[in-house]
Each structure stands twice: as structure tokens, then as C-alpha cells.
Symmetry: C2
Subunit: 322 residues, 2 copies
């Protein structure tokens, strides 16, 4: 199936999924394609686990666990309790319902299907009508370089070690030979494309892996649509996750401005929260157009409002980068 | 670890596991080794599933679901419900707790461990002190030849199709090149061995696969201990499972005597239930010694009493076969 959306949204997990959901309420299925980071994918207990992809999928299916920020709502943990009794690894909390996703996907991959195929199948089964596309069908595992010189698999850093190691940098293993998924290539070349939106996700471990895949930035630069990033840092803190802690450890100010600097030369428009409006001038000086609006998505209405704001912003700005 | 038991019990699922449990109450861990059929093993959703082996394991761990006759007690089904929503195959009912066993075992096998290794690990985690040994570390899948000429994988016949196809025969795929597991070879050569007990399991699909592995009957015949079979058919009916239906479809009388005939030339002693005492003379005429006792194991006391009866019987009889 060839997709021809007007908007491509690039998303990591929870924060990004909120805006992706907002966009899905504003744009009809043919008009929106959501591309999820798969750099945080890993194999665990022999299962292919895709945390960001699944967070977006469960969010779009209205199945996401809003309290936990991952997994499914109303989840139960009998598998994990039994696994613990069997002395299996339980640091990554696999819920009973969530497990069905991983078991089925793993089986599809073992039978030769791609992650894109498996994602399409799962989304259809869950009644998701908008296109959800993994960034790549190739494994591009994010490694976290830590202060003591080790390289940690991302989920070991993020879940097992609860982000406590000091971050020195990141590697996207195998990215040199990875290709964007067919769907991702397809939508970046869509004739009707009028916006590419980087949802408010972690710049280092959710967005950079997507943009680092060879050919992705080239395709974005060739597209007529502007690339717009929504800051995941608001008022000097990350809404969710370790972005601010990472920035500190990487020697960066923990500000929306620093996020904009991180994207300089890549992004055409930058969306600042109202509390960060004083950075607008400095962000514009980086060569980006700026939208200042409420980016705190507490309710579905907030998500929808931000989606509308971002799409309106895209209509108004012209590409400057390239 | 070299085992040197006085008794080796050969078991299929539920019925066999009852006597195996009785034996485990009578014999200390060094004195008993239980060998489980793995001919009914299959891969499902990418998971290595061993129904008979697990039934024995859960029975020994006092975790078995007595109502269902398979799986764990107090089981929940959230995984299966989620799998159904995802349009996965749900005919084989994998419980949330049970799933931990399959996921962990599958991962051990993928990492190069043997089924014996995985079984030992799982049994230790569950606090099982008696040795539980798979018949083989090689796959020997039982196929059911049916009336319409097809060959069905055993669990497809047994669970998916609920034993409804007419049985014409059985094949143990790959048995020619299969080897008994190291533990099985070990215990059949144990110096102290004084009994080998075929628990009341299905002769065709639980016991024959074990005895068909090259070298097993030879080792049994070389052992000083008698081979004793407990009839799974009592009063013309199977206590559990499709044994009687299979006998009918194979053109055999549905009697304990027909089971004894099936084992002729292989078995030294045959245990008949009290209701089948009139067959004693005919079974003896087949060259077997006979014990008539209560074989209906309704309570744990029944299981223990039958275990004691069978072990006493073994002491009294001499090998005639060979």
C-alpha cells in the first residue's frame, strides 16, 4: 500500500505519542503517518520488544496505561510472578496482555516477516486506522556510553538501571548500514506532504536514532514540507523521562533553547512552550522559525489543540534549511 | 550429576503423573527418576511447549490444575485474551503463569541448552527434589495418522481437533536418529535399579514414543530390574484421555487385556485394577506376571498406596522377557 500523507510525525514513547494521538484526531487516516523510533528495541527472553513503537500503538488504540506510562491499561502480572518464581529475569516488567504483542511479533519475525509487516498486522488487529511505521526494519540498537566507560544497551540503562549511570554519549549500533523502512521512505517522498513533525520526544535516544538512518535527513531535506520540532523540555525540565538529566550530564543547559541548538541545521521550525517564550529570539537566531504555544498535554483536548497549532505553524513557515 | 535410582518411572501426562507423584512420596529423591514423554512436545507461537513433561513437573511441584488436568492451578488468561484480540492462535490455551515456563525454556533452548538442562533448571526453581528427565533432548514429534489419510501433529489432533479424527496409526518422526537423553541413559544403567515402572499412561502416544527411542528397550532388557506396566484402561474405559477411543479405532478391544497384549514381549509385570481381575489368567498367559490391586487414584493416599503396591510387586517378580 502506498501512503500519501500530508503529515509525517516522528515519535518516541510517551511524550511523542501524546502529540501523535492529537494529530490522529485532527488528520484523517490517509493524511497522517506516524514513524516510531525503534532504537530502543531489544530482545528479551527471546522476545522482540519495541517499547516506543508499542507505546504509540497502545496510545492510538486507547489501550495505553496512563499511570505507568508504558504497557497496557488494566494490565495483570501473573506471568511476571511465575517468571520470578522460576528465577527468570524480571527487571523488564512484561504484563500478561502486553506479552501477547511480543509473542506474536516475535513469531512473525522468526517466520521471516519484517517489523513493518508485524506492526501493520498488530495495528489492524487493534483497530488503528492511521499508519504506524517503524523507523527501520533493521535493528539499530541504541547504546549508552556511560561515565565508567561501559556501553549499556538502552533498556538496561533505562529500565534495569533506572537511568542512574552518568551519560557520556550514545551510539546507534549498525546505523551505517540500516535503511529506513519502506513505509518511512514512502511517506517522506509523499507528494502531498506539508509537514514533518518531531513530536516532543527525547532528542538523543528517541529522535536522533530516527534522523541518523542514512537517507532520512536527505529525504527530509528534499521534501517540500518543513521539519518542525516540539520541545520536550519545558521550563527547564523534561515532561517525562531522562532528557534533562542527560543534557546535564552531556554538559548542556537543561533548556528548550539547548534542544533547539541540538537540532540546528536540521529543523525549520521549533515549538516552544509559553513558559519558554523568552527563548524565542535566540531560537530564531539559530535560523528556525518559532511557535510559542501551550505544549503541556494534560488532556486529550490539549493534545488536539497542540496538533492544530503545529499544523497551522507548518502552513505558515517556509523551509529555510537545505 | 550421575543418578543411581532404585526406580525409574516412565510417564505421560495426567494419569502417569499421579503414580509418579505417589512414587515420589514413597521413594527419596536419590531413589527415583521420572522420565517423561516428550513426543507430544511442539512449537507454538515460537515457544517450546512440553505438555506431558510440564504436567509431571507441575504435579511434583504441587502446582497442577486438578480441574483442567493441565496447566497450573489458579491460572489466569489475560495473555490469551490479548492474543485473541490480536487475532493470534488461541486453540492451545496458554495460561499467564504457564507461559513463564515456556518462555524461559524456549530462551534456554535458543541459547544452546538442552531440554534436559532446561528441565533441571525449572525443577530446581520449583523446589522439585526428585529427578525429572525428558525421554530425549531430540525432537521426536508424534504424528497421528487419521482416517482421511492425513498426518496430524499430536497437539493438533489432541487439543485443536479434540481427538475427533479417526486414528489409523502413529508415527514418531525422527525417532530413528533420536537418542535417549543423557539422564535417561544414565538411570537405565543404574546399578541399584530394582524397578522400571510404566505409569498408567496412553500406550500409543505416551509410552510407545519413550520405548521406541533406539537403545531404550535394549537398555531396559539389559537392566536387572523388571519392567512393570500399570494399565491405563480400567473396566473397559480410559481413566483420562483418548486411549480407549484410539483402541477402538485401531480395531482393538477396549480392555486392559488388550493393553497387556500391546506390551507383550516388552513388559515383565502387568498391574490390573480390581475390576479387571478376571483378565489375570489371560495376561499371565502372555508371559507376564500380574498384580491385581486398586489402580484408581482419587486421593494422594491412593497414589501412595498404588506406588507401594507396584514397588512391592517389582520386588517379588523376576524378569522373564529377554
Amino acid at each position: 500500500m502506498t501512503l500519501n500523507p500530508t503529515c509525517v510525525a516522528i515519535s518516541g514513547g510517551v511524550g511523542g505519542a501524546k502529540l501523535a494521538l492529537g494529530l490522529s484526531h485532527v488528520l484523517s487516516p490517509p493524511d497522517l503517518a506516524i514513524v516510531a523510533n525503534t532504537g530502543d528495541d531489544f530482545e528479551h527472553l527471546g522476545l522482540a520488544i519495541c517499547p516506543d513503537l508499542d507505546t504509540v500503538m497502545y496510545t492510538l488504540a486507547d489501550l495505553s496505561n496512563k499511570e505507568l506510562g508504558w504497557g497496557q491499561e488494566g494490565e495483570s502480572w501473573a506471568f511476571l510472578a511465575a517468571l520470578e518464581r522460576l528465577k527468570g529475569e524480571t527487571w523488564f516488567r512484561l504484563g500478561d496482555r502486553d506479552l501477547a504483542t511480543h509473542v506474536l511479533r516475535s513469531e512473525m519475525l522468526r517466520r521471516g516477516g519484517t517489523l513493518s509487516d508485524a506492526t501493520t498486522f498488530l495495528c489492524q488487529a487493534l483497530g488503528i486506522r492511521h499508519a504506524l511505521i517503524p523507523m527501520s526494519d533493521d535493528a539499530v540498537p541504541t547504546l549508552v556510553r556511560t561515565g565508567n566507560g561501559t556501553r549499556l544497551a538502552f533498556q538496561h540503562y533505562f529500565v534495569r538501571d533506572r537511568c542512574s549511570p552518568v551519560v557520556k554519549g550514545f551510539e546507534f549500533e549498525g546505523v551505517e548500514t540500516a535503511r529506513p523502512s519502506p513505509g518511512f521512505r514512502n511517506v517522506l517522498g509523499a507528494g502531498r506532504l506539508s509537514s514533518i513533525v518531531i513530536c516532543p520526544s527525547n532528542p538523543f535516544v528517541s529522535v536522533d536514532p530516527v534522523l541518523a538512518i542514512p537517507g532520512v535527513m536527505d529525504a527530509i531535506n528534499r521534501a517540500s514540507a518543513p521539519l518542525i520540532a516540539v520541545s520536550p523540555i519545558v521550563g527547564g525540565a523534561a515532561i517525562k523521562g531522562p532528557a534533562a538529566k542527560m543534557m546535564k550530564e552531556l554538559g548542556m543547559p537543561q533548556t528548550a533553547l539547548a534542544v533547539a541548538r541540538h537540532y540546528v541545521g536540521r529543523v525549520d521550525g521549533f515549538v516552544l512552550d509559553l513558559v519558554d517564550k523568552d527563548y524565542a529570539f535566540e531560537v530564531e537566531a539559530l535560523g528556525m522559525q518559532v511557535l510559542v504555544t501551550n505544549t503541556m498535554m494534560r488532556s486529550l483536548d490539549d493534545r488536539i489543540a497542540l496538533a492544530r497549532d503545529v499544523l497551522g505553524f507548518a502552513e505558515r513557515i517556509q523551509r529555510k534549511v537545505t
